[in-house]
Subunit: 99 residues, 5 copies
């Protein structure tokens, strides 16, 4: 899994039937880094993930990719390759809080 | 999932039997970017995806990769690793419209 | 999926039993590019894929990666992560033929 | 699989129900390298993995990605794409110990 | 699949129960390249793969990644994402032998 910040959302009206009613968020992956343990380093590419946990803009989340995204509760038959699996309280790197 | 623009198409006559009649589109992935929230940043590599939603040249779409591409309606047994799962109406980044 | 040119082949005598008799080709991925719509841009890394369609040196093919490679006809139980799914007739980018 | 050092941990209270009670560690992938066989070369991006083997800060571990992460004992239905599968005793590169 | 040279091995005593007795090798991926058809070009990152074919240091092998690694004979329930599927006799690129 990777950590990410929610930076936006996507609206799609004409979509695969299985996707109706799903909330799509834009995520900026961020990476803990022991060279700078109190900061989360932004990654190069954003990702669109399905959210069922109520994440909102600015939230730090944990997301999962690939077929495992479908193991998220209620998503077994969805054509999705990324899903939010947790809202993150704290990240600790080398004993320090990263944010 | 990732966003992409449809930039072309592929025709293959001799193909795996399961692929007969499938429409193959060439996609240029594009990435929302909070440093420039009104623009979608083009990615480095194009992808060929199956389309069952009627996407056409220039359309902004959402696509899915890996085994989840097969969860798209009617594609469970296809040897595909990319499928369009939605036509995109709007992308919002930090409260602004990205296009 | 991605497009590729066949540039070679691999022979392996001692291999997993399930792989006996399978033809292994070396592929150079090539990418349609709207900045230069008549050319296919070569990618950085070659891939070894199973072929059951009779592809040969120089052919332009469409290949699939990951678990979906096993959905190719007759390959369900093979330990393969890349398979050729079609021989390509034409690629169109922004209304032009790419080759 | 890849090798990695444990450099931190993640706490998430609001998460997918299936993830309750799971321990999430931050891993820095490290790569054996025959050009410098006694050193493990740090990779560019950290990963968050589930741990059920009792790994702790500084440990060298082996982790697995993708759907196979769910094959780790007791994790079949979890929405995870990375799991620790072993604590590493020794890595040998070209007959030398790498650390 | 990709080609690779075996450059080392990994020993892990405390590991997932399903992994007991499995041989773990360190692989350096190498890539056929039509710009230099007699050479195999080393890749940037090494990989740890399970071996059941008796590969040893210096051998040129073919390996498979992702869920398909589990299709290797006897590995269906293992938490592995890379497995050796063949020992390579010859690689031919543009009619020349690559080594």
């Amino acid at each position: 899994m990777f950590l990410a910040r929610v930076i936006g959302s996507v609206v799609s009206t004409k979509k695969d039937d299985t996707m109706k009613g799903r909330k799509l968020l834009v995520l900026r992956p961020v990476f803990p880094d022991e060279a700078n343990p109190t900061k989360l380093k932004p990654g190069g590419s954003t990702v669109v993930a399905v959210d069922a946990l109520g994440a909102g803009a600015g939230d730090l989340v944990l997301f999962c990719q690939g077929s495992s995204a479908r193991m998220t509760t209620g998503m077994k038959t969805l054509p999705i390759d990324a899903a939010i699996v947790g809202l993150v309280d704290t990240v600790e790197v080398l004993g320090k809080n990263a944010a």
